[in-house]
Symmetry: C2
Subunit: 412 residues, 2 copies
């Protein structure tokens, strides 16, 4: 597998562009073309500091660090995943943190970021107050929660991880919670059906995902079962928290081959690789690994950089993958792991620099000057995304969407 | 979990029997009641020697051993699983071994055994000649094979493992075979749908099973997917080849709890426990463990006996389980493993003796004399199955089928 070759094959488009002014070809004119945005979603999850910053809760050094973090965020990313963990979003029934999150979502959208909400239904971090309800009431509360949040955020959040970790959901036995109870009663497929239906009803335009960390056949069988049961899933979400070591390109590819048969887009929704000691292999639930200190190290940062490059190349090479979301841009977030592309002081690790070289370098169409021919045409090959053409002071935007060849007419 | 208590609760019936002669109560008469057969299927798989014996292919010592084996077989069992591995059953396309197998099936049925065919669709031991066909032809051949064999054996084989090991089927990568190719194209659920439909169409009365060795959530999610897709499965088959060590009662129970939600009968279709060294834990595919000698040992036989007793008690205690099929009555069959209840010389291991004490002792209603009361009635509590009542020289058969209490009227 030559990844670079597959990337070029699947991610670039040869565009033959015809330029006119009021229908008359603009011949032999100098122009400039530059890429403005990737079609592919290169994203990351929220930072707590960004939520605080956007909501004017920071000052002094904290504010500076948050701003620095965001600068780096937008150097790399065009997608963000925002947290809707029920237990945190609505700790008191009837008092959701809608306003704070809506402000954050709008802020990202204004920065031309695609915003995804995560998750609508999950057994972990769900609302404790569900425990006082019976299953019928839990179901009702869960569906109402979905309808409310999908409605409140429609237009700014049109992508949702609807059900998270359904494979383990009914057999999760670490602690009692309302969603495991519900899933045990309904079964996975029936629960997924109801949750997707509620989200779909409120926002028919939304991209609705099933998301899981389980990449065993159990998950692809679950997807198959949902589809065979007539549930429409818009994209398959696959987590890859690799705190215990990089999967490697080959294993990743094998997993992609198991899911590609559904002919659905695949989002790699949660990607982690640490730049420090690996988490011990005997840990089954990553949340069990609680450490005070988990430092980033120079050797770890080198390893992380190499792995990040190979991981992104592998995923970008596969035509089914539509997005990669890095989990925690800066160190010190989930599990206190050195999984950031930035250190705690928001300085760039080698992984960040290497990723920038790919996303805004090797995989990016840099500003290029050329001229139209005697028919007012020019041809170029670029990565799929949004482009800007300048002719003198005039600018026009256009898009390259499909791989292969395309013809575009622009009247300016 | 008090297994003995659950067994009594789920497997016995208190029967109040009213005895009449031409409608007139038979009062204060001495009678005898004895159990003839278990409702529960206690079974085992075929022996090659039995196939040969029934087809008059044996003589001298071989014949004696085969007869001795069969004597022991019928001491314990009321169910047999016969082999329909496609590559062996029809090594040359168009020349199936129907006659030899039909003779064997009838022979078992004449011995009051329920006969199950195993399997109709499986990637392992499938016909090599499929490799010369394209997928459309493989599908056609597979469906024709199902229709032919289900038709030829209907009435004597009305129980089939229709699809075997579907969880691994499309990702089985040890060697190329026609069924893996087909399953990769169709997907598991669509393949299962087609195979079940073909079998159902030919023998609507048949009990059709999905069977798997995978007891991870992948299998129960597959069952859920099939049911959600509208496929009717009559019973769930679970293999438990424990060559690498006994699962233990608790793990077995946990697995049963994951499958009981489907409210379908469960058959433990293939049960093995060895009376010698355990197979090393690093072996993933049991078929990879090829040894010349794998002796039974006195300590191993003690361990096996204890485990067999606990395994059978665990399964018999769970109300969803309808049958247990021991895999290889005598040593030296599959993998040359000492998994027999009999040694190679057909002598009984402790496990056989202990199992006999349960199946025809503790769980068996021994011949009992009693008398009808002034209304022609008597009450007794017995294990579900077939019974014979004698009054003088007259005999009448009746059945206890449901747990709890039942009223029966017999006119003799």
């Amino acid at each position: 597998m030559n990844l670079d070759q597959e990337i070029r094959k699947n991610r670039t488009t040869v565009a033959s562009v015809r330029l006119t002014h009021n229908g008359i070809p603009i011949v032999q004119q100098g122009i400039q073309v530059k890429q403005k945005k990737h079609q592919f979603m290169f994203g990351s999850n929220w930072g707590e500091s960004t939520l605080a910053l956007v909501n004017n809760e920071l000052s002094a050094r904290e504010k500076e660090l948050a701003e620095l973090r965001n600068e780096h965020f937008f150097e790399l990313f065009n997608q963000v995943t925002l947290p809707f963990y029920w237990g945190r979003f609505e700790p008191q029934r009837g008092q959701p943190q809608t306003e704070r999150m809506l402000k954050t979502a709008h802020w990202y959208a204004e920065h031309d970021c695609t915003v995804k909400g995560h998750p609508l239904c999950w057994h972990t971090l769900t609302a404790d107050w569900l425990l006082a309800l019976d299953n019928r009431e839990i179901l009702q509360a869960q569906l109402e929660r979905i309808r409310r949040d999908v409605f409140d955020f429609a237009g700014v959040i049109d992508q949702w991880d609807v059900v998270n970790e359904a494979v383990i959901m009914p057999i999760f036995d670490r602690y009692d919670n309302g969603i495991t109870r519900l899933c045990k009663e309904l079964g996975r497929i029936e629960l997924i059906r109801k949750m997707f239906a509620a989200a779909r009803e409120i926002n028919p335009k939304a991209t609705l995902l099933l998301n899981d960390f389980d990449v065993s056949p159990a998950y692809d069988i679950l997807v198959e079962g949902c589809l065979a049961a007539g549930i429409r899933i818009d994209a398959i979400g696959i987590q890859s928290h690799m705190h215990q070591g990089y999967w490697g390109s080959e294993r990743t590819w094998t997993i992609l081959e198991r899911f590609e048969r559904f002919k659905l887009p695949i989002h790699f929704t949660e990607n982690s690789l640490v730049s420090g000691k690996l988490m011990p292999p005997e840990i089954v639930d990553l949340n069990d690994y609680q450490v005070q200190e988990w430092p980033t190290t120079p050797e770890g940062e080198q390893r992380q950089a190499e792995e990040v490059v190979l991981h992104y190349k592998t995923l970008f090479a596969h035509p089914a993958v539509q997005g990669i979301t890095w989990w925690d841009l800066s160190d010190g977030a989930w599990l206190n792991a050195p999984a950031g592309l930035l250190r705690s002081d928001q300085s760039c690790k080698p992984a960040f620099i290497e990723l920038l070289k790919l996303i805004k370098g090797e995989w990016w169409y840099a500003p290029t000057r050329m001229a139209t021919d005697a028919n007012g045409q020019f041809t170029f090959s670029g990565f799929q995304g949004e482009y800007e053409l300048s002719i003198g002071a005039r600018k026009v935007l256009f898009q390259l969407m499909e791989k292969g060849k395309t013809s575009i007419s622009l009247d300016i």
